[in-house]
Symmetry: C2
Subunit: 390 residues, 2 copies
């Protein structure tokens, strides 16, 4: 028996553990301090009423002989695949329902999609980055190279023709920086990928935060993308599904590599290693895409957007450099000192918790992530304290 030795090469992530430990110690030393957390990348507002109703109705169905459903299609029920298809169609993106696979969230599929690719592929990942892109590839023994996101390029690295790679990760709006690619910029990535037969794994988890129609919310707004890109999205941030778990992955029929159409490859993977998302949860997800659902989630999205505005206006007053916060729940600010040092300063002097940029990669050093997912009043208070700190 040989274990997968690649697991030994995965760096242990101490980021959120270390944050938790420092906050815990501070709170135990300062039991009266009113600590405000703007570090967490998780939603806080409840599910929309139409979603709750749909979940309960489906639970009732499952309790009755007539309404009961056993195994569903691994790739998702047609009612939900069609709802996602129509959601894209409203933005003039034409997909076939069978190009859409319902998942239990973008994280699962971003990891599992790698089953389809050889382990000798080279992977290009932006830095700073959501750590899962790197770790899932290290676990499989793939070579990972980085595209630098820096202040100079607005944390939107562009392709370099001299660099050869096979799998490319793009997250826009970005976690952790909140930066958003333009259509012209994404077009360059699509052309680059097609020119070298690479595949783009496009993480669209934050698409619902984009309000400017000039900015792309899907890679499929770009000509040629169906020939090179798989898109992952989720209701986690769109509709508060982080604990409810539902997302979707799009594998276009036009995506062909080494003579093989990848859509049936993914179907084969899912029918062999997955049994589909709970019927109950799929009914809840379907409700998100109804007219009432879209109206109700907009209220929550607007609430988070208002928080982001509170933060960016505060940073503007302070004259702090930052990206994000416009079409993203994340604000990525320059902290002009090592990011863990700023973390301690903010915690000790302002009793505000954020996330040190160093936790997201080499280029995150000197930067700091704040999130818009908190309580509105608490966010206002936190910003006041950050301004007072100067």
């Amino acid at each position: 028996m040989k274990i997968n030795q690649n697991y030994l090469n995965v760096k242990k992530s101490y980021l959120f553990t270390e944050i938790g430990n420092r906050v815990k110690k501070f709170q135990s030393d300062n039991p009266d301090a009113d600590v405000i957390k703007l570090g967490i990348g998780d939603v806080t507002l409840p599910l929309a009423p139409v979603v709750v109703d749909a979940l309960k109705k489906a639970a009732d169905e499952m309790g009755e002989k007539q309404g009961f459903r056993g195994y569903g299609p691994e790739q998702g029920y047609d009612f939900l695949r069609e709802a996602v298809r129509d959601y894209y169609l409203k933005r003039n993106i034409c997909l076939e329902a069978n190009e859409i696979f319902i998942s239990d969230g973008a994280k699962s599929d971003l990891g599992n999609i790698l089953d389809l690719f050889s382990e000798c592929n080279t992977v290009l990942v932006p830095d700073p980055v959501y750590p899962v892109y790197v770790d899932t590839n290290i676990m499989a023994g793939r070579k990972v190279i980085f595209a630098d996101g820096t202040e100079e390029n607005g944390f939107l690295p562009m392709p370099d023709e001299n660099i050869k790679c096979d799998i490319i990760y793009i997250c826009s709006p970005n976690n952790p920086t909140g930066a958003v690619y333009s259509r012209e910029e994404l077009k360059k990535w699509v052309d680059y990928a097609n020119s070298m037969d690479a595949v783009i794994l496009f993480d669209a988890a934050y698409e619902a935060f984009v309000t400017d129609e000039a900015l792309p919310r899907s890679i499929y707004e770009i000509e040629g993308a169906k020939n090179c890109a798989i898109e992952f999205s989720s209701l986690s941030k769109t509709a508060g599904f982080t604990g409810t778990r539902c997302g979707y992955t799009i594998v276009p029929h036009a995506l062909i590599r080494e003579g093989q159409t990848l859509n049936p490859f993914w179907l084969r993977r899912q029918t062999t290693k997955f049994n589909g998302v709970s019927y109950i949860i799929q009914r809840g997800a379907e409700a998100v895409f109804t007219e009432a659902g879209q109206r109700q989630i907009k209220t929550s999205l607007d609430y988070y957007r208002e928080n982001a505005k509170t933060i960016t206006e505060g940073l503007d007053k302070l004259g702090k450099k930052y990206v994000g916060g416009k079409h993203s729940p994340y604000i990525w600010m320059r902290c002009d000192m090592p990011s863990w040092e700023y973390f301690d300063l903010l915690l000790n002097k302002a009793n505000v918790v954020g996330t040190p940029g160093a936790g997201f990669g080499r280029n995150g050093e000197g930067w700091f992530r704040l999130t818009a997912f908190g309580d509105a009043d608490a966010t206002k208070e936190a910003v006041k304290r950050i301004i007072a700190l100067g």
Copy 2:
């Protein structure tokens, strides 16, 4: 870009598609025929009332600011891990809660667990077999060898010291044969695995059908099993969760290979490639393990057991050879002709649908699977027709 060429070696499974096509054709040719389906391996009775109540209560919680839950622990909430721990403890199996990982079903984890092992391992799989054991390994390029289940060994193959392997699949009560290993037999497998540092992947999805206390429901009833076995189980067949999706995987702390404890390996896999099961579903699963839940699921299990008895008594009358049906929802009968031929005979002459054994492997030829998951009256009628057919 190189794709994973191993996918091209996976045989397309035509079994259920072919069954579907033949049934469809028959029904279109004979629109008035009352076709009874005893082929499907899926439950038909609704969820228990306590489960439905728990699901709805959790959905309500998620709709309120105070009760809302975002990201949960990837490995499952403590309330459910502890409920599973206590479920085992009732059978005198001591597990720690952090040896239990909540999953969206046994199928996902049976596939994903392979991430932990090198691709150069040799895999021993029984034949006949649940096709997923084979396909998931072919997809990763592993060598698969078979242990023959035959009429002579009661479809319970035993280890052969001359055969070397690294990963061993055991499913007991078995799908498709319904055969159940005794403790003494499982002990031989455990000793064999430990003697060669192999890992047993034990599929316990049908454990709840065992009523004889002399028969093991978990591999951990066997001394030494914690040193070599990972157990997969599910509420799918136990509590009608095939469409609701919840199971659990046990990776004991004592399981060490190549100097590495596999429990933190699996934790690392799950925290990197999974975001946990929906909070709502976990609350529904928790209800299964309450006193009321156990009482309510027993009603359904007894209903299926009664169906199994109807079938086995019918086969006894006919003098047909079979295994299973006692501690299993599956009855595996000798059909004394090529199994697809018997399929057609049964469909055309008795209007009953079953599953040809050939679909489960080489040793399935000449055998036929009937299931106890149908309606009680329809099952009685089907058995009458099978008897009439002789």
